[in-house]
């Protein structure tokens, strides 16, 4: 399996992968991390709104919506 490293926004709905790093500041990293979204964690993408809308991902049993601007800064390794 080839692993690709892309921002969360480029991931397709239905795909799953692993969070690699956050390109944003410490504040963003902390906030996401307290909600269970952290480097090394497994996620899957539920949907993305077209054109710069928020991305909805699934982490464990819960779904979280993340604004487009922040989603661009979340780098993931997709299982393809």
């Amino acid at each position: 399996m080839v692993k690709e490293r892309i921002p969360l926004t480029d991931m397709n709905a239905g795909e799953s992968g692993k969070v690699i790093e956050f390109l944003g500041g410490a504040g963003m990293r902390k906030r996401l991390s307290s909600m269970g979204i952290r480097a090394g964690g497994k996620i899957s993408k539920v949907s993305s709104a077209f054109k710069r809308g928020p991305v909805v991902i699934k982490v464990g049993a819960s779904q979280t919506a993340i604004g487009h601007g922040m989603s661009c800064k979340i780098m993931v390794e997709v299982d393809r």
Partner: protein, 571 residues
Amino acid sequence: MKKLLLMGNPNVGKSAVFSRLTGISVVAANYPGTTVEFTQGSMNIEGEEALLIDVPGTYGLEATSKAEEIAVDMLKEKEGEVVINVIDATNLERNLHLTLHLLEQNIPMIIALNIWDDAKHKGIEIDVKKMEKELGVPVVPTVGVTGEGCKDLVSRIREATNPKVAERSEEERWKETGRIVDEVQLLKHRHPTFLERLGDASVKPITGIPIAAMVMFASFKIVRYIGEGLIGNVFEPLFDKLWLPLMTQLSSVLQPGSFLHAVVIGKLIDGEIDFGQSFGLLTTGLFIPIGAVMPYVFAFYLVLGFLEDFGYLPRLAVLMDKIMHRMGLHGWAIIPTLLGLGCNVPGVLACRVLEDRRQKLIASTIICIGVPCVALQAMVWDLLGDHGIGYVGIVYLALFVSWVILGWVMNSVFKGTSPQLIMEIPPYRLPSLYTLGKKLWMRMLGFVKEALPIVLLGILIVNVMYYLRVFDVIADFTAPVITRIWGLPKDSVMALAMGFLRKDVAIGMLGPLSLTAKQLTVAATVLAMFFPCVAAFAVLVRELGVKDMLKSVLIMLISSIVVGGALNVVM
């Protein structure tokens, strides 16, 4: 007295557990951030009185919003405190992360493993005994909405303890969380349920936008249908058949023309009492809040309560996120906006969950301007509906356009960036009739308790001021704006002045003035926009502070003059 703090992630059912333990009703809903203020109540633990505090939900112990700050501050007092950590059994990993962090604070703790019924349905098995051993504190499975397990929880509060663990780093905490979850939780594979598929469909744009349109349209129709139905079939007959004969008798006893008659019964229209126009305390004063507004309050909160508990609102927030960004907000702000359609007070209060001052200023200002409360809407339908639905439509359209444009203008004028949306999307849950009914009852009671006295006070003031002819002075003073710009008759100033107190009475006062449909449309729009009612104003000052409140009020005044003037010219 022992202090018990109910703490946990947002939307894990703390408020439901609180209601069960204290018997005090608090508003709970299926979206994160329902509780923005803490509520406290006393409860009985085996004969001993204790204070239970419903703390706003928090993901971590480093606050990212005002509501979370309240939660974290409360933890610092420590004296005589016990934490009841409520966790969502269907979402163990993220919840346990906070649990571990709380344990490190060295406060005695007990865990309520809540939403236990859903976990079972979802094929999640949790070994409670093992979990107790791993964490070193008592763990009690509970179902807050039905009350299951709450007795056990109370009886084991005495066992609350702290295993004294050292402070861990974020990374270590996640590692430990993962280890414990692997130990105690067993997941059974199963296919997604209908509700889960519906949940996913309502956030995907292709299916979500049509669903949102349908939900909004249906909600509107249902509110209208129930509201109108209750007025036509229940409340109007009640007033006409039961109350009118009584009032007619009272009228002849009090003698038309006396001061007491003017205050209690009001003016007679063609020799008879008219509940819409007489404006006495016991005639119009009771008819407006109970006969005209309350049926709509009931219908609105019935529908809103269902949408809240079902879990629809966060999904709407996702779909609206991009549009809200244009106004310097993010999708979550649609929730205070919808609450504002019931009453601006909870709308402004809910803005507390928004992260920064700029967002709060924008959101509360455009709610106060462009979001008419249900009391105002009911009266607009009542008065303007007779002239044709088109006029009612113009009021809504004018308000909506002002809401969008003002948001956009404020976003451009006030420097700053809008923070990004991060919001948990809860699963859809079928609401229990018991909790829905209870919440509706609470909101109705709140309406009667808060609205009725102010309506009566307002009508009393109006009658006294009429009697003393104070309005004539104000009318001359405000004439330039009211007659020249808005095209309204001079005496509508009384109605506008009443708008400071209550909007429904204010619109009601337009009734006897025999305005044209156009004038009514302008007046209703201006009344909705120009200033919040006294109750909304009070929370606005408290939430925004004096400086931002002044900015907000200035924007309201200017925009109502502009929009009212524009309608006057265009129509």
